[in-house]
């Protein structure tokens, strides 16, 4: 039940997510199994049914009910957790919006996978990106340890009274969910120092279920009512949460000794870099290896891990653009019909608009549906950026202004 000493466990990304929920003293869990998230559900069942974790675990019949149950449990003033992936996230979409609209600090991990048809269960962030406008904070984890750490940070960010919004922590299906790495499981005394206390009997400040203080929530509101203002506040507080995210990352580093940049992005060898590659999830970590190898060959390249997509780190992207002349922005997701076809590159371009910065952004889409992306391939991406920087020459075979790196020829 309690974790007295720090432990290093050799576990999968999914099991790391389950350990994080246990470390965070989650009170109510609801989940439904879906590949490649299933082992999170299994590990949590082990924890709860063996008495190792004193939580209520509602094993529901669908993902829609997962989020409905957590909305109910969170409104009633408890710390809640779930995990899902791909189709499951899409199926719960109505309640995903409901959770944010109710301003509930629910935390959910996503073992991201491709969207059907055809069936695909491998790494692809289109699932979580499809929920980008729901009012959830969205973060990406690039390592097993980062999954565990991000869940802990998420509760501290989301339960902050200035935020009170839910958060997704997404990581690539199979790449991280089913491979094993050593993960540090932190002891209770350190966790207590870092985590906010569990909600007291009164529950959250803005919403509660209490017969002493009867409250009605969610009834019909006319266009002249405060619906518009409620929506404005979600955006306002989401944008302001960048400060909280930074603060929490700093505090996390102080207590646990692991750094995640400024919380929003993590730079790697960017100080004297001439070109930069921005990635989300596991590919960001792999890109650091590509940077190391290229640096040995004498190339001045740097890598940026985008940790948060919501709120979008506008200032950080502008700062990166000030440092280099060319940025490659890699999407492992699709945003059909958008300016670049990828969500992250479209938003990076948008962030630089009207800033007077003429840094070139090369949108890249890769690894869709779990297609393998090698270090060699990432090194090639860097080289394309360097050619662009030196000669202004764009790669051949661009599709609507975007490099679909690794796409097969389709007749």
């Amino acid at each position: 039940m309690s974790q007295k000493e720090q432990e290093i466990k050799f576990i999968s990304g999914n099991v790391a997510a389950a350990y994080a929920a246990r470390s965070a003293k989650v009170q109510v869990i609801s989940a439904y199994p879906i590949t490649p998230q299933t082992t999170v559900v299994e590990k949590l069942s082990d924890f709860v049914d063996s008495g190792d974790m004193p939580a209520q675990y509602i094993k529901v019949e669908s993902e829609h009910s997962v989020m409905a149950a957590l909305v109910g449990a969170s409104i009633a003033g408890t710390r809640t957790f779930s995990a899902t992936a791909g189709q499951g996230l899409l199926y719960m979409s109505e309640m995903v919006h409901w959770a944010a609209g109710t301003r509930l600090p629910i935390v959910m991990t996503i073992a991201s996978r491709g969207i059907a048809p055809p069936w695909n269960i491998w790494a692809d962030f289109t699932d979580v990106i499809s929920q980008r406008d729901a009012g959830w904070l969205i973060s990406f984890a690039s390592s097993h340890q980062e999954i565990y750490d991000s869940v802990l940070m998420a509760y501290k960010i989301c339960e902050n009274e200035e935020v009170l919004l839910p958060m997704f922590i997404a990581y690539g299906g199979f790449v991280l969910s089913h491979t094993s790495k050593p993960v540090i499981i932190e002891p209770d005394n350190k966790l207590e120092k870092f985590l906010p206390p569990l909600p007291d009997e009164k529950g959250w400040p803005h919403i509660f279920i209490d017969p002493e203080r009867p409250m009605m929530h969610g009834n019909l509101i006319m266009p002249s009512g405060f619906y518009y203002e409620f929506r404005m506040k979600i955006h306002d507080e989401m944008m302001k949460s960048t400060h909280i995210i930074k603060q929490v990352a700093l505090e996390f580093e102080k207590i646990f000794g692991r750094s995640y940049g400024n919380g929003l992005i993590q730079e790697y060898k960017m100080d004297d870099a001439e070109v930069a590659l921005i990635n989300i999830g596991g590919l960001a970590l792999q890109a650091e290896q590509a940077v190391d190898e290229l640096r040995q060959e004498g190339y001045k390249v740097g890598s940026v891990k985008l940790r948060h997509f919501r709120p979008f780190p506008i200032d950080e992207i502008i700062n990166i653009a000030k440092k280099v002349d060319v940025i490659g922005v890699v999407d492992r997701d699709t945003a059909f019909g958008s300016p670049t076809g990828g969500a992250v590159s479209s938003e990076c371009k948008s962030a630089l608009h009207n800033t007077g910065i003429d840094t070139i952004i090369l949108p890249i889409i890769t690894g869709i549906g779990g297609r393998e992306v090698s270090v060699e391939q990432q090194k090639e991406e860097f080289k394309i950026l360097m050619i662009l920087e030196e000669t202004g020459e764009l790669p051949k075979d661009m599709i609507h202004g975007t490099l679909w790196d690794g796409v097969l020829e389709v007749k």
């Binding site: 009170q27 109510v28 609801s30 004193p54 939580a55 209520q56 509602i58 094993k59 529901v60 019949e61 669908s62 829609h64 009910s65 997962v66 989020m67 409905a68 149950a69 957590l70 909305v71 109910g72 449990a73 969170s74 409104i75 009633a76 003033g77 408890t78 109505e94 309640m95 409901w98 569990l198 009997e201 509660f208 279920i209 209490d210 017969p211 002493e212 009867p214 409250m215 009605m216 929530h217 969610g218 009834n219 019909l220 509101i221 006319m222 009512g225 405060f226």
Partner: protein
Amino acid sequence: MALRWAMKALGPKTALVAPASCLNVVVGLWPKTAPNFPFINMAFAAAAAAASGISAAFKAKDSKFPGKVWGKMTSLVFAGDGGTTDIGIQGLSGAAERNSDILYVCYDNEAYMNTGIQRSSSTPHGARTTTTPFGKQRFKKNLPAIVAAHNVPYVATCCISYPIDLYEKFKKAKEIKGFRYIHILAPCPPGWGFASEDTVKMGKMAVETGFWILYEVENGEFKLSKPSKKYLDPSKRRPIQEYLEIQKRFNTLSEVGLVKWQENIKNAWKYIELELELKEKKE
């Protein structure tokens, strides 16, 4: 009306979850609210699961703050027939199978009345709605029987015209742990096409014709409720024509349709007889 009697029986230590239904409007527009107990409006398909979550949270709070109100709270769903028999049935079935500690109430006015009288799977045969302009072909879905098939601790049918029966059933349901289901027939004047002052009469006729049968299933044990007992004898039942004739929604019902209604009522009672026989054998 049903809600008033129900809350009288349940008391203020109740958290109510209401999916999209007339109730959302009845309770008043923001920021004016009528109820004096916690009331959560919920997405259409989400009521049973949300109430399960609330119930789980009460349990978590009861273990963290023992001896307080949390162990005595009732998680209540108050849903319409659309939210129960159609879009909400998956979540309802899930909660019933898990035996979630909630009381689920369906107030059945036999169509989507909030959006302007569209057919639901609880709309009876021959009824005209805006989506069955010539009368519905299929029969009403027997949801109480479906829920009872989940082997839950308590299932009951009620009618707003029998408030004492309703009150007693809610009182009983309140004391039971686990999943409880109460299905209330609630005649809807505009939707059914009769004058408001005839609402109680309409509900009484539904029972007196033998169309709506009041019963309880407690831990698998079937019990015919007092108001319906005498209608076990077919000769005591009022002719179903009387019930159908005074509702405008049935004014296109054919002779064949009427025979179908009669057969349907006969079959429903056969099922009741079977249940009672089984019970006798057990005893």
